[in-house]
């Protein structure tokens, strides 16, 4: 069952700790003491060794991603420990992309130098917005100055592949404010930008505020205006809009995330991590977001992951489109046919019909246009 993961060349490490919980976030994370974090890193080490020794992870890694939570709460030494462990076991490919999500409020020059020295070569900096008032509303523990500083320090520490996160569609936001955010971000010369429309996830404090009518988010028209403005500004500045929410300068796409959308295998360690095994029609697994259980399983030498989803051919075809069409590159008809023995049009004639002009085959690949992306869920539903 794990054989195919042998070819997986991606690894995700989940760091489920934060200094405080943001009211819009529904990711698994805890507020933990430094001692608890030490203990967790040791468990991650055990987990990696478990995967290596059981033969599951046996191929030099092309991409490694420290996500969270707040991975920048890890001390450089801890990151170094994990990367060294990988280097000494499964190995890191020569040009491996090693990303770490950094929260501007948690880093300084010293720490960033440490990450760089440990082997991290790409930072994703959680700017979110450059408006201090809006940052307070989002419950972020940092301000504009700290974001700008984080970029400066990162360059000084030797990083040449920096990404910034931008959030838009914030409560009370107008187009001017968004344009200011974009200009401010572009001045920091990022290589990559992720621009997320704020989504209210159920079970979060934001969801409760929205139910009580205390959260006035922009309507659909304004959201569109924002989305299109971002597209215009960033493509105008030389970025490629390569996924619904992601922009990159040439050659700077996030290879790790691309693996998700192209449905390639990815290992995962840490409580709350997800794993995808591409063999057959695919298998999704996850490590339950339960720190005590995580520790217990690893101490007993057991695999803490559980099966989440299995796929038959039809489901695999549907998911291939559900993920692949998020990317500008789209889904290549020949690849699809080679994989499933049928073309997209042959497998989903009715769904394609319903997408109409929004989804077309260009240079052999099926692609949504910008309008199609804005109604992505509406259209993609037809394939599921």
């Amino acid at each position: 069952m794990f054989d195919s993961l042998a070819t997986a060349a991606s690894l995700y490490l989940h760091i489920p700790f934060c200094l405080s919980k943001c009211p819009y976030c529904d990711f698994f994370s805890r507020i933990a003491s430094p001692e608890q974090r030490d203990g967790y890193v040791e468990m991650l080490g055990r987990h990696l060794l478990f995967l290596y020794r059981s033969g599951v992870m046996n191929h030099a890694l092309e991409t490694v991603f420290f996500g969270g939570g707040t991975p920048s709460l890890l001390r450089p030494k801890q990151v170094a420990f994990l990367l060294e462990l990988l280097n000494n076991t499964v190995g890191l490919a020569e040009n491996a992309e090693i990303s770490l999500e950094a929260n501007p409020g948690t880093v300084d020059l010293h720490r960033l130098r440490g990450y760089r020295r440990a082997g991290v070569n790409r930072l994703s900096i959680g700017v979110q917005t450059l408006q201090d008032e809006a940052l307070r509303q989002l419950g972020r523990g940092h301000n504009r100055r700290q974001s700008e500083q984080a970029f400066e320090w990162a360059r000084e520490a030797g990083f040449d592949n920096l990404s910034g996160d931008l959030m838009f569609g914030l409560a009370g936001q107008n187009l001017d404010q968004l344009l200011q955010d974009l200009q401010g971000l572009l001045r920091l010369q990022p290589d990559h930008l992720s621009c997320y429309g704020l989504t209210v996830e159920s079970g979060t404090p934001f969801a409760r505020r929205q139910r009580r009518g205390q959260l006035a988010l922009p309507g659909e028209e304004l959201f569109r205006t924002f989305y299109l403005a971002i597209h215009e500004q960033l493509t105008g500045a030389g970025f490629e809009h390569y996924e619904i929410s992601n922009y990159a300068r040439p050659g700077r796409v996030c290879r790790h995330n691309l693996a998700y959308w192209q449905r390639r295998s990815c290992h995962g360690v840490g409580a709350g991590a997800h794993i995808f095994c591409a063999s057959g029609y695919g298998l999704r697994r996850s490590v339950p977001a339960d720190l005590r259980r995580y520790r217990r399983f690893l101490q007993q030498g057991r695999d803490p992951a559980v099966t989440l989803d299995t796929f038959d051919r039809r489901e695999a075809m549907a998911e291939t489109l559900y993920l692949g069409l998020r990317c500008r590159q789209g889904v290549c008809e020949d690849h699809f046919r080679a994989r499933f023995g049928v073309g997209v049009a042959g497998a989903f004639p009715e769904a394609l019909n319903r997408c109409g002009e929004r989804l077309k085959k260009q240079q052999g690949c099926w692609r949504f246009d910008l309008e199609g992306w804005l109604l992505y869920d509406h259209f993609i539903l037809n394939f599921l």
């Binding site: 997320y196 659909e220 569109r224 989305y227």
Partner: protein, 618 residues
Amino acid sequence: MYFVKSLFITFFQELEAPMDLSRIRNFSIIAHIDHGKSTLADRLLEETGALSDREKTNQFLDKLDLERERGITIKAQAVRLKYCADDGKDYILNLIDTPGHVDFSYEVSRSLSACEGGLLVVDASQGVEAQTLANVYLAIDQNLEVFPVLNKIDLPGAEPQRVKQEIEEIIGLDTVDAVEASAKEGIGIHEILEAIVAKIPPPIGDSEAPLKALIFDSWYDSYQGVIVLVRIVEGTLRKGEKIKLMANNRSYEVIKIGAFTPHPVELDCLAAGEVGFLIAGIKVVQDAKVGDTVTHLHRTADRPLPGFKEVKPMVFSGLYPIDSGDYDALRDAMEKLRLNDYSFTFEPENSLALGFGFRCGFLGLLHMEIIQERLEREFNVDLITTAPTVSYRVTNVKGQELIVDSANKLPEVQFIEEIREPYILASIHVPDAFVGPVLSLCTEKRGVQREIKYLTANRVMVVYELPLNEIVLDFFDRLKSISRGYASLDYEFIDYRPSQLVRLNVLINGEVVDALSLIVHRDKAQFRGRELVAKMKEFIPRQQFEVAIQAAIGNKVVARVNVKALRKDVTAKCYGGDISRKRKLLEKQKEGKKRMKQVGNIELPQEAFLAILKVKEN
């Protein structure tokens, strides 16, 4: 469907001596929905040892999943129980189950005709309901001995004294010996069995006379052919004999006879007074019509027993397969359902919007829902049901009378001389606190008051003549909500009366959608049109373009709403952990869209077709 009935377990048993009539009791349980009839039936089965422990699931007699889920009984059943009474003698108790909903009242009268007595089961906190009353009167009309059982005596809200008084005052039954019971807790079950033996008279009938057996139910079994439930009124029926069905004069040879215990057990004979089944190689249910008399081919009875009135569908609606490729499967499924339910009718119908489908007739709204659910569940056909309507009598200018059971069959207004609509006589039982709202509801529904009567100090019977058209919309739901569930309703058809009715059309993006047309009273057309399009707006999902919904009487548009175009619908983040979760959210959304029908370039959900049922009036 009747999976237990079709599992015929044949086993040898000793020849029983012809049953002594004084040891037989044939009885029914009469109860309102929710008053615990099925649970009580189960207890009686358990107490007499008819069920093994493994079979003591809830509500053994409700065989259809639907019956169990909805807590209602749709089809009659007959079960033979062996009971050794306190007097030391063995008795055969035949329990003939009855349905409890107004839509199926015709089945009640059939079941009662096979009995000498009935248990009137009344919820000790709810009291007597209109439906119960109607069934009790049916029983009393048929000279049945009825005795009351107060059920759910264990509940904190139970008021046995008050309810007994109610039974005496409303129905006029003596409650001195009424049994207080809790079927759920097993209280009073023995007392009930003793009362059945003591109070219900044994059947009478000459087992030497020419055979007369009343068919009170029949159904098709794919292994055995038609299975017929009979009550032997006179004579004796034996295995291997030649019989004749008196309605069509067809003759058959009896292959098997027996009784359900509740498992089918074969017997050698059934004599006067007994209840059981017979199998005689009858191919179609229509040949063994309920109400017909079975007699011997060579010693024919002089005349048949009085039969039953044939039931006619009262409510009509269109059923269309969502996937037009399912048309044949739907027809086959309907034919199969009709084998055992001849009160359900269907004929092909075409709709510009929905394509090929069927116009179906039902006894009432519940019957309609049940048929629809069974078609979907048992036969796996996804359906769109159009708004229910009744059957109108229309006289055109040439003096011809047309039967119109669909708004689309209504001629243009200039060709209509007169339209008549069916009226019913509705009896509503309600605590006096809710009489006001009930009266205004009846007035709003174009009712004509016939009677208001205090049954007891605080229970009132309100009798109205009402157009059935208004009942099939939302009358029952409204009645329940304005009386906090305390009102109950029974009704019977009276006649057709001239009325000012018009066709209300619904246009989507300027096109009339024929499947959405309705026949409504002229005075209400404008209001209904406005409310209908407002309601439809809630149900029609937003599309990539704006959708205009209009209501029109003839060519005159009376209301319009717009469903705004969808402008943004996108999941921003989709990484490792989001992939499964967000895909599943979308799949769930998709599941909800399954019951949608493409009409022109938009998709209409089932709810849009039934939106009229949700229109609230002031």
